[in-house]
């Protein structure tokens, strides 16, 4: 009931926020950043957005949205279509079942949860990409991307919390 009321109270723009920020996050991950070493592996921004919204406003980021954004990301990235969609959806399902652990918890706890998720996410990507190419891929770039993603998460989280407070009422 509380969710339904919050949905009524939020305007259309506000309700689109989670999807829009997730699309922006996906787009950001292909923008060339001319930092040495950074271009080789960029953080998985889209995963951060999916994690955040699945915990705080799951009703506003439907699995269908995650699927579409995942395919969009694969198209931009030139990666096998469906790879990001599959891994982002699995990540969402993982978080969805456990979101009560994270709501109203301190940030370090949320960060720790994200670290676990990012690890699983990179392992899934590694496995699926390896299956696609039918060979063992070097795990190191994936591990590196995982570490980078976890390290950048506080910044992304800060931005997303601001956006949420600015546009959305508390659920």
């Amino acid at each position: 009931m509380a969710i339904a009321r919050a949905q009524r109270d939020d305007g259309i723009a506000a309700r689109l926020m989670p999807a829009v920020t997730t699309i922006l996050a996906a787009t950001l991950s292909v923008v060339p950043m001319r930092m040495p070493g950074f271009a080789v592996v960029t953080p998985a921004f889209a995963l951060m957005a999916v994690y955040h919204w699945t915990i705080y406003r799951p009703e506003l980021l439907a699995p269908l949205g995650v699927f579409v954004i995942g395919v969009y990301l694969d198209f931009l990235n030139g990666t096998p279509a469906g790879l990001s969609a599959l891994t982002l959806l699995l990540a969402q399902v993982l978080v969805m079942g456990r979101r009560r652990w994270f709501v109203n918890r301190s940030f370090p706890f949320v960060w720790l949860g994200f670290a676990g998720l990012a690890g699983l996410f990179m392992a899934m990507q590694w496995a699926v990409a390896g299956l696609f190419d039918l060979r063992m891929l070097d795990f190191r770039p994936f591990a590196f991307q995982g570490v980078l993603t976890v390290a950048i998460f506080p910044i992304a989280s800060w931005v997303l919390v601001r956006a949420q407070r600015a546009f959305l009422r508390a659920a």
């Binding site: 060339p32 931009l76 469906g82």
Partner: protein
């Protein structure tokens, strides 16, 4: 509400299955998926371009500041380099004349006229398992699949997908990149294979081949994908049978690249690419009888 909840419960496994199906379909190189991919790239191009520009400006300013600090030494170094290069220019001029005379004597067929477009890099694949660039030139700029991408110092990769106004360049470092090369000097053949690290490996080297650090690697022109003798990089490590090559081009800092049409049609499947002009087909191979 219960209907919606049920739809949602059904929805997730269905979407997961659909993603898996898409991946399997992608393995078969379905034309529709390729088209959709480049259509998205085309549509997003203006946005990506818009986002890429301020970042480019910011890094350029940083680089300028950095450069200002070392202006004097840089100037000194350039003077010396210029003096050295002027000598090389002399040598090159003599060679061009001599080469022209010799070609005339041999009735050697002329190389195809080379055309190129300069394109801006608007996106880079950021994942851990793909190395490619999206550039803002496509079919309407006569970019076609298989064309060669160069930056100032050497080879970058080749065009793997073409949209109307955007194209994707598969970098030399990508897992799927395989380039026939030779070691300059010894003319020893090998294949430069990307493995997603920043330093691709030399594979299929003959066991008798002698490779040492600092050896220059250039394209061999075999297979008709690339013309011969395009600079690629130099050997930086030899550990047992693993030979790694440092590229001349810093792939992480590309703003612009040149996409060059050498009129080669190589071994790429023709189905998905805009057909090159028929008059040019076959001539590329004829122009290169030395290999």
């Amino acid at each position: 509400m219960p209907v919606r909840a049920a739809a949602q419960r059904l929805g997730v496994p269905f979407l997961i299955l659909l993603s898996a199906l898409l991946i399997v379909l992608g393995k078969a190189d379905i034309l529709v998926v390729d088209r959709a991919r480049m259509a998205v790239a085309d549509a997003m191009l203006p946005v990506l371009d818009l986002v890429a520009r301020p970042i480019e400006t910011a890094t350029q300013m940083l680089q300028k500041l950095e450069a200002a600090g070392a202006l004097y030494q840089e100037n000194q170094r350039l003077r010396e380099e210029n003096a050295r290069l002027l000598q090389w220019q002399e040598v090159a001029r003599r060679m061009v004349t001599e080469n022209g005379q010799l070609r005339g004597l041999l009735k050697f067929p002329e190389d195809n006229p080379v055309t190129f477009v300069t394109a801006r890099v608007v996106a880079e694949s950021g994942g851990a398992f793909a190395r490619n660039l999206l550039v803002n030139a496509g079919a309407r700029d006569q970019v076609a699949r298989g064309q060669v991408a160069l930056a100032g110092e050497g080879l970058v990769g080749r065009v793997s997908e073409v949209g109307t106004r955007s194209a994707r360049v598969l970098l030399l470092t990508d897992l799927n990149s395989r380039i026939p090369v030779v070691i300059d000097g010894s003319r020893e053949r090998a294949v430069l294979a990307g493995d997603n690290s920043s330093r691709p490996q030399l594979t299929y080297l003959s066991s008798k081949a002698e490779v040492k650090i600092g050896d220059r690697i250039v394209t061999s022109g075999r297979g008709g994908l690339f013309p011969s003798d395009l600079p690629i990089g130099q050997v930086v490590s030899v550990e047992g049978s693993v030979v790694r090559v440092e590229l001349y081009v810093d792939l992480g800092r590309l703003d612009f690249i040149r996409i060059i049409d050498y009129g080669l049609d190589g071994v790429l499947p023709q189905s998905a690419m805009p057909q090159p002009k028929p008059a040019r087909q076959g001539k590329g191979a004829a122009a290169d009888p030395a290999r």
